[in-house]
């Protein structure tokens, strides 16, 4: 590379998965894990198939973080989302009006947003927003 590293190696290594959301599904125990792995975290099986994570799901749990680390504007709202058809994704809520609108069981969908800034460059990834029912 002639250019200086534009972002962290971690981000670049998993660049395709960050946007394409490819995980694995264990053919033995059914556990869905993301990103891809060669050994099932749940049961140790090596019989794994690639699995396309859906972008929709429901909130399993959340909190409202009023004291996030530097570079984040409070409040931020970390969520664990039960994805449609199984598997979980951990991320941040975006575009919520009042924190009170966010509840366990609420339907959410992933949208591409800026996550952070790394060495002067924007880093993008998925956040969740509430789905109107």
């Amino acid at each position: 590379m002639t250019q200086p590293a534009p972002a962290s190696p971690v981000f670049w290594r998993f660049n395709p998965e960050v946007f394409r959301l490819i995980g694995i599904k264990c053919q033995d125990c059914g556990h869905i894990s993301y990103p891809r792995t060669k050994i099932c975290h749940e049961c140790g099986s090596q019989k794994l198939e690639e699995y396309q994570l859906p972008k929709r799901g429901t909130i399993h749990t959340f909190c409202v973080n009023w004291a996030p680390p530097p570079t984040f504007e409070p409040p931020i709202m970390p969520v664990i989302v039960d994805l449609e058809g199984g598997g979980r994704y951990q991320g941040l809520m975006t575009e919520f009006g009042a924190p009170e609108d966010v509840k366990i069981g609420a339907k959410v969908e992933m949208v591409l947003r800026k996550l952070t800034t790394d060495r002067g460059l924007n880093v993008y990834g998925y956040k969740f927003r509430l789905v109107e029912e």
Binding site: Y34, H60, F62, N65, W66, P78, I80, G91
Partner: protein, 396 residues
């Protein structure tokens, strides 16, 4: 393990914001207190191996520590000495490794010491070291960019405890009130003042549903224990305390792989294995030091260790059963909440409390002993996926 290992001395320093003490100062004071605590005396040269608990190392400016740090600081370089890091259970696991060293038959007398200097850096940087930043702890997942730290992880458990178990913010706050009360009787505690339910609930929200006073402080401290072959214990002390079990349990490394948020399988596994090792039931335990890094965590721990059924902890706490003079005192030392949480020193500080209580030397905070058995517990890591449980008894 049972019948093979005994604690002959424990030592610690008062936990707190110890700006005037270096890591070496703290280590040496805890070590010297530990030697003094061996009531029939011990020649330091009788210690044949040591384990050094140090969690953060370079993250928060303690320098890159390793085995030689401890050996050199205590002036004993003729012994093998290993640094051990295992997240928040570092202290409990350092003790376990010392016990394994003796139980294996390799050594007669060994030292376990944990020390952590957290306050030399401002809170945000110290928390950053603790995984509060964008931190590499979340590994190869875009979630590494979501600014998750200890409070956010436990707050997400608390939200689910409220949803599934009907727990309330008052239930969580009662843990803080109890542990602060206990802390007022402990000369080693970081915080030694009472708080009220109202004060907890009116303190700033750090991470909803957790308030400032639901969170343990960041603390400097050091604590140590000397363990030896059980059959040699009476040569060193008139009040040996015996190790019935010492175990570590693990679960997933990341939150999204875990299933339940009202239960931590790391604790369940550590405790189950420990009770099996000791050959006792949870109801045989007289009192416990449980890892209350956050108030909701103490309730979860009491259930996961097996003292009460899932969903019962809040009511038992409200009924006073976990009070210092209740049926099962939890955190008579003040817990992490009031006693402080200098990561690697925390578990060994709890061992100090167990030994002090079992020798009936705890003065105003002395709990009533029936079977003479106490339990120590830590849980932590990126997804609270590692836990240590040690069970001590005044009879072998």
């Amino acid at each position: 393990m049972r019948g093979k290992v005994a604690v002959i001395g424990v030592g610690m320093i008062k936990f707190g914001e110890l700006f005037e003490k270096s890591l070496e100062n703290m280590i040496q004071e805890a070590y010297l207190n530990c030697l003094k605590n061996v009531d029939k005396g011990i020649d330091p040269k009788e210690i044949k191996a040591a384990w050094f608990g140090q969690w953060s190392g370079g993250f928060i400016g303690q320098g890159a520590q390793s085995g030689q740090s401890l050996a050199s600081m205590i002036g004993n370089r003729n012994i093998p000495c290993t640094r051990l890091e295992n997240a928040c259970p570092t202290g409990g696991d350092t003790f376990r490794h010392a016990c394994l060293g003796v139980a294996s038959g390799m050594y007669d007398v060994v030292l376990a010491l944990g020390a952590e200097k957290m306050r030399d850096k401002p809170s945000a940087e110290s928390l950053g070291g603790a995984g509060g930043g964008g931190g590499a702890e979340t590994g190869n997942h875009p979630a590494w960019m979501i600014g998750q730290g200890g409070p956010a992880i436990q707050a997400m458990h608390a939200t689910r405890q409220m949803y599934e178990l009907g727990y309330t913010m008052e239930d969580f706050a009662r843990v803080a009130v109890k542990n602060h009360h206990n802390g007022t009787f402990c000369p080693y505690a970081h915080y030694q003042f009472e708080i009220t339910l109202e004060r907890v609930l009116n303190s700033p929200v750090i991470c909803w549903p957790l308030h400032l006073f639901d969170c343990c402080p960041q603390t400097d401290g050091a604590a140590a224990a000397i363990v030896c072959r059980a059959d040699l214990a009476k040569k060193y002390t008139s009040k040996p305390v015996y190790v019935l079990a010492s175990n570590v349990g693990v679960d997933h490394n990341q939150l999204w792989d875990r299933n339940s948020f009202i239960e931590q399988l790391s604790t369940v596994r550590a405790a189950k294995g420990a009770f099996q090792m000791a050959g006792i039931k949870p109801s045989d335990v007289d009192f416990a030091e449980l890892h209350d890094c956050f108030t909701n965590t103490e309730l979860m721990n009491a259930e996961d260790v097996g003292f009460v059924r899932k969903g019962e902890a809040a009511r038992k706490l409200k009924d006073g059963e976990f009070d210092m003079h209740g049926s099962l005192p939890i955190n008579p030392s003040g817990g992490l909440k009031a006693h402080g949480h200098p990561i690697a020193a925390t578990g060994l500080g709890q061992i100090f409390e167990l030994v002090t209580q079992l020798r009936e030397e705890a003065d105003k905070r002395q709990v009533k002993l029936k079977n003479g058995i106490g339990l120590q517990h830590n849980v932590g890591g990126p997804a609270f996926g590692v836990s240590a449980v040690n069970i001590l008894s005044r009879s072998p």
